[in-house]
């Protein structure tokens, strides 16, 4: 039994509930190829969110690891930030947890200010150094924690990410129509481009035992797809 895994699986179920409450699940062309016994990908959308994606790889039995990626992009006429939450965890610890409201077209967006206030008092026991691609897109209050061993800290991260997801989906609609479509598209593409430079993503996914070719294709086409 693993407390960390149990908490994360509860978190995954809650994220799906939150998406179900706020948006409608849809079939994205090509995504079904990346669903199997250990790998689950689902996407939702509504008038304010063009893509809310949850991606879970359950390799607990084979590799002793569990991974979740959650990313929400606003519609292209909405200048709100991009919600992100990523976790990878072994049986006894979260090896990495990342969470941010990353700017799209408006760097000092009110929702980002709200996010910064929400995370202000949250200082993980071990902060990670960020590489350049990450510094290009993440806020200076990005939550980046590694080696989270205590239940308290894991729960605090999970609760924070869940609270922020609820707040995000409650508030994002206020900014629909506030964004210039061309600019938001360029800004979301900029975010995706930098995310695609993360060398750890494909490496980590391959270490979970997923098919190498599938992972490469997934990372390019499905994880952070540019709009072109």
């Amino acid at each position: 039994m693993s407390i960390i895994w149990n908490k994360l699986i509860e978190c995954k179920d809650e994220i799906i509930n939150i998406f179900e409450e706020h948006a409608t699940e849809f079939d994205e062309p090509g995504l079904a190829h990346f669903n199997n016994d250990t790998w689950v990908n689902r996407v939702w959308q509504n008038d304010h969110v063009r893509r809310a994606h949850i991606d879970v790889v359950d390799a607990r039995d084979t590799k002793g690891l569990w991974m979740m990626h959650v990313c929400v992009f606003p519609q292209l006429n909405n200048d709100g930030p991009i919600y992100g939450f990523d976790v990878i965890a072994g049986k006894n610890k979260m090896t990495g947890a990342f969470h941010d409201f990353s700017a799209s077209a408006t760097i000092d967006h009110p929702m980002i200010e709200g996010y910064k206030e929400a995370v202000e008092d949250f200082i993980p026991s071990k902060q990670r150094e960020l590489p350049e691609w990450a510094r290009n897109i993440f806020t200076d209050k990005m939550l980046a924690a590694g080696n989270v061993r205590t239940e308290e800290e894991a729960v605090a991260i999970i609760e924070l990410a869940l609270d922020n997801l609820r707040a995000y989906l409650d508030e994002i609609g206020e900014f629909t129509g506030a964004g210039d479509v061309d600019l938001v598209t360029a800004a979301q593409n900029y975010y995706c481009h930098n995310q695609q430079q993360n060398p750890h993503t494909p490496r980590t996914m391959k270490s979970l035992g997923l098919n190498e070719e599938d992972v490469d294709k997934f990372c390019t086409d499905m994880l952070f797809p540019k709009i072109v």
């Binding site: 077209a105 350049e132 360029a186 593409n189 900029y190 709009i227 072109v228």
Partner: protein
């Protein structure tokens, strides 16, 4: 019609004078070294094209986008598991794009330098590089495409176009500083 060519002549000439260009034109560039160049170019074109497309810069010339052909050229030549090194100017270019993402004119200045270069000098390079050289193969009448790009430019784009030439110059310099055993075969 703009006078961009004249306004950026100094930076353009400086880029062409770099030692890397001589290696590129030698007909003997080491395929691995050339693939390193392609990988750095791919990062720039991929981002530029995604941003410029968002602003409609390619609306009447969609086939000139190079991202996929550069990718194919790179995959043909690069056989190692980990990708090649990105040089500092490529990282700097990616950061710079954040500052101009809202400005279609500035993005057009990039297309003027990069894509116009592939349509012009690139045509000579294509016969001298390893692999298929898809990056330099365009659909349609090259002169007409160049004219279409030229018609989108104006003199106000000069500073940004100079930046793109300078970024290319830095890329060429930094590539020659990489720890590569043989630049040429």
């Amino acid at each position: 019609m703009s006078n961009l060519k004249e306004l950026t002549k100094e930076q353009h000439t400086n880029a062409e004078r770099q030692a890397f260009v001589k290696v590129l034109m030698s007909g003997n560039i080491n395929p691995k070294f050339y693939a390193t160049y392609l990988w750095n170019q791919h990062k720039k074109y991929d981002l530029l094209e995604a941003m410029a497309t968002a602003h409609g810069v390619f609306n009447d010339i969609p086939s000139i986008k190079r991202k996929i052909s550069i990718e194919q050229d790179f995959n043909e030549l690069w056989t190692e598991k980990t990708p090649p090194e990105l040089v500092p100017s490529t990282h700097e270019y990616i950061m710079h794009m954040r500052d101009i993402m809202s400005d279609p004119e500035k993005l057009t200045a990039h297309v003027y330098v990069l894509h116009m270069g592939d349509l012009s000098g690139g045509q000579m390079i294509s016969k001298r590089v390893p692999g298929e050289g898809r990056m330099y193969q365009f659909e349609g009448d090259i002169d007409k495409i160049k004219e279409t790009i030229r018609s989108k430019t104006n003199d106000n784009m000069a500073d940004e176009a100079k930046y793109v030439f300078e970024s290319a110059t830095n890329l060429f310099k930094e590539l020659m500083e990489l720890d590569i055993e043989h630049y040429m075969e």
